[in-house]
Amino acid sequence: MSPQKRVKNVKAQNRTSQDSNSFQTTLSAWKVKQGPSNSKNISKHGQNNPVGDYEHADDQAEDALQMAVGYFEKGPIKTSQNKDKTLEKHLKTVENVAWKNGLASEEIDILLNIALSGKFGNAVNTRILKCMIPATVISQDSVVKAVSWLCVDKCSGSTKVLFYRWLVAMFDFIDRKEQINLLYGFFFASLQDDALCPYVCHLLYLLTKKENVKPFRVRKLLDLQAKMGMQPHLQALLSLYKFFAPALISVSLPVRKKIYFKNSENLWKMALLAVKQRNRGPSPEPLKLMLGPANVRPLKRKWNSLSVIPVLNSSSYTKECGKKEMSLSDYLNRSGSFPLEQLKSFPQLLQNIHCLELPSQMGSVLNNSLLLHYINCVRDEPVLLRFYYWLSQTLQEECIWYKVNNYEHGKEFTNFLDTIIRAECFLQEGFYSCEAFLYKSLPLWDGLCCRSQFLQLVSWIPFSSFSEVKPLLFDHLAQLFFTSTIYFKCSVLQSLKELLQNWLLWLSMDIHMKPVTNSPLETTLGGSMNSVSKLIHYVGWLSTTAMRLESNSTFLLHFILDFYEKVCDIYINYDLPLVVLFPPGIFYSALLSLDTSILNQLCFIMHRASGNWKCGLLLDMTFDMGPWYRKNLTAAKKNELVQKTKSEFNFSSKTYQEFNHYLTSMVGCLWTSKPFGKGIYIDPEILEKTGVTEYKNSLNVIHHPSFLSYAVSFLLQESPEERTVNMSSIQGKKWSWYLDYLFSQGLQGLKLFIRSSVHHSSVPRAEGINYNNQY
């Protein structure tokens, strides 16, 4: 097509794009009315055509098209004088319509016939072929008819080439392909023609199914290869053959090569896009096989892999080998199996999950989210075992410090770990191989290399008995923990928090799945909870020691309290009967911290922890703040399962004594200004010796070092001119204003704590406030 004409066509397309919809309706109406054999008598008006100018124009164009088609169908009229002119006119009409809106399959059928029958000259045939653009689909019969014309050899070589290019470009729009596939032998024979060969190869590449791959064809292709040498299109077809029949043929594609076929589509690029848009409905994804280079790398480094993770490949190899011995049922199973390459969506996976052809190398699932789902729910031992072996060996082999110190491949290893972690996050489940790898490699780890990845792996350790894991893992981690910087400590605490969270998630799901458990590992829920509580206590020990080492760093304390925030939610969020509190070393450091946010966090945790009690776990409490809460006692009853397990599970009275102790100290310090009476007990004589006169209120919400600045700014807000601020003026109403001020400063934890522990019932609240006010 000349550039001029193309421009024109594009213009035409633009001009009429607005009315394309209505045109389509008329076209479809026309299709309904007309049989393919009887295309001349066209009723112009569909039944429900809305009246309009555009419609009129469309009808005219359609008429012209029908006349043109009719003209071509009759064949060239030799007597006519202005033959060329008419021909040109009709050709133009067809081209315009085709590029604008595409042709109906009936029209394509007729015109294709004409183009290949050689009634007109070569130039005309070329032009007709170039504008064979379907409106939606091409019927397979027209293709079959067209191919039959090729057999009688009426058309020139260039027309044939163009036809094949057209066929390749339009392949996806052919409605069905069974009949075309029956012509496989014919196409295959056309490979002999040197000019056609590249395009026929491409067509065969699209068309080939497993049953088309026959030994004689393999031999023929190899002969062709011998004749023509290494041709990219031939390579591609051969590698497809190898894919289907690895027992017949072997080929290894070069690494660099990317393009195997000449681009047949560029003649119709614009039109193809338009057709795709028109067809936007649920059209099946065409099967396109990936042509990857075989991954043998006898390279400088190691030969095991180019990329660490193998390429996805169906396991046709091993099955093929035992062909002779294969029983009938095996054969049937195999033909019904679903090739991995076609697996594109989750519904597909669900439909074919029973007959999925597994990859030849299990490791390849790591790059495929759908197969990860499969791995996750399959209970097939060999599948898991193959994946296990692959992953543990690869980790061992790639690990840059485990075997040899090849630190130059650090980046690769980091990427690999990232991939694994992504997969674990995706599945919300750790791999056993990773755990085994941690056992082996952690003792040798320097704590620096791939730190974040490595710690993330730690957080994905599958749930297991803590006392078993401790000597293998946590003891080694502790050594690093104590000897490394504060940042390392914080990241370890962070990952332990994630570990706790992951364990809790698994356990909480498990309660609902299986109330009765029988496992050698953790026989009862109590046993599992024991393991969790050991983990928490271990972290408590770690953090107490770390606080000493880092001289009560606020930064570290934040991470520690983060961990305990997770801990105090165990019962409420995960329905698991476990309450563990922080060790005193953490509690008092937080309570006496100079940082308001720490204190706020502490208040929040205490508030959440008291939620456990509210939910009915703790019963017998005497406390000077008045009767403790029973109103949410029923909350726990709604979950009978938990109720059942809980009954066999006893909280030690120590835990809530401890909690009460903490709570007393906190309320005593922050609220009632009796800091050293019940909670923290210090002998009054010693307090006398310190010389601090007003020690009693020195730790309440006003005088506590971390609140002092708030109090001052509160007072300054009240009376900005004041030179000296009188702290004790915050009393009575001002006290509650001050509290509101504090809450407005974002101290939500404090707010919740005070609301739940002090303001709860009207009686103690009044008492508490009165007490303060009179002080």
Partner: protein, 390 residues
């Protein structure tokens, strides 16, 4: 990595939790055993001294002789999935075509065609410790002279021993053109074979075995064939191609098996303890001192009878070797050396041990010399390989 498009209903939520409570899944059992392994000393503190007549009776003496006096590179290998001994012929055809296709990148070859490379699979009868051990098998890559293609696949055994002495690692497979456009990618250093060597020249040999691999066998199902030890002799590039084929076909994993100094000293002790009728080589140790600018190697040769005498003076428990004895043995050698040269060998790294029974290098190279103790040596290597893959 493709994007993880999470579907509306994630099945992981419903499927996950059983498997750690079911508990008895094979994976969990395996993890248990790993925990045990890692928590205690990596190797058991006592082992049997290799006994001489452990070869099964049906072992072909020619086969055995063929395996001796060659330097093998060690690999550990995870269990082979769906490997079948009845398909060895088929495998050899496939592997053959695979090698040729790899050597001539981009050019397809027909499986079963006659190439001038031939791959032969054959079982090594009797190479096992117990009846449960799977049969060992051998893979050989032969290069055939153009005139006499693919004859005498079995015949080749006869002159294998002769070939063993020459170092084939310098050779690469030669690919004679199956087509006009063939590309020779191999290095043809000795491609013009002498005429008297018509039947074929062994370029590459590798064998798979499992001697007393009970601990591994227990944990895998019948879909797998456990041959944890793989020994290769030939160019690394050829091992790479063949290994890749096995990995793709049987979903297994090869990794080089290095022998650390700890295990080397065990080898030294165990092999010194073996009774050998006539010593063919001196007992020799090689230590490496990592000092700049050049590393220093210290070789220490002892007359084998002296070494044996030393061992006998240390040895207490009959038929067994214990960790203390190994340590003592090595300490004696160290102190002897220190007395003469004032060098503390314990501060250096043991790199190689060679005795009349076998010699081993830390890079995972081994040469077995004594026919009597073949199985004993292999049993220890199997143990190391199993340890690596577990």
């Amino acid at each position: 990595m493709d994007s993880y498009d999470i579907p509306e209903s994630t099945p992981s939520a419903s499927s996950r939790p059983e498997d750690y409570f079911v508990g008895a899944t094979p994976l969990q059992k395996r993890l248990e055993s790993i925990r045990k392994q890692t928590s205690f000393i990596p190797t058991p503190p006592r082992r049997k001294i290799p006994q001489c007549s452990q070869l099964q009776e049906d072992a072909d003496p020619q086969n055995v002789a063929f395996l001796l006096h060659k330097q093998w590179t060690l690999y550990s290998l995870t269990p082979l999935y769906k490997f079948s001994y009845s398909h060895l012929k088929e495998y050899s055809r496939l592997l053959n075509a695979f090698i040729v296709a790899e050597k001539q990148k981009g050019l397809a070859v027909e499986v079963g065609e006659d190439f001038n490379i031939k791959v032969i699979f054959s079982t090594l009868l009797g190479m096992k410790g117990t009846q449960r051990d799977p049969e060992a098998f051998l893979v050989q890559g032969l290069i055939l002279s153009p005139r006499l293609k693919c004859s005498g696949t079995i015949l080749t055994y006869c002159n294998l021993c002769l070939l063993g002495s020459s170092d084939p690692s310098t050779l690469a497979f030669q690919v004679a053109g199956t087509t006009g456009a063939c590309h020779h990618t191999g290095i043809l250093s000795k491609s013009q074979l002498p005429s008297e060597n018509r039947e074929g020249k062994v370029l590459w040999t590798g064998w798979f075995c499992c001697i007393f691999g009970d601990s591994l066998l227990e944990t895998v199902s019948e879909d797998f064939t456990c041959l944890p030890l793989f020994l290769a002799n030939g160019a690394e590039s050829n091992t790479a191609i063949i290994g890749t084929w096995f990995q793709k076909t049987f979903d297994c994993y090869f990794s080089p098996l290095a022998i650390n100094a700890f295990n080397l000293s065990w080898m030294a002790a165990m092999w010194t303890a073996c009774k050998v009728d006539h010593y063919v080589a001196t007992t020799e140790f090689l230590w490496s001192v990592p000092c700049s600018p050049q590393s220093l190697d210290i070789s220490y040769a002892i007359h084998p009878e002296d070494a044996k005498a030393l061992w006998d003076s240390i040895h207490k428990t009959p038929g067994e070797v214990t960790q203390e004895e190994v340590d003592l043995f090595m300490d004696c050698l160290y102190s002897h050396f220190h007395r003469h040269f004032k060098i503390h060998l314990s501060a250096t790294r043991l790199v190689r041990v060679s005795t009349s029974v076998a010699s081993a290098h830390t890079d995972g190279k081994i040469k077995i010399l004594c026919h009597k103790y073949l199985i004993g040596v292999l049993a220890y290597l199997t143990e190391l390989a199993v340890f690596q893959i577990e």
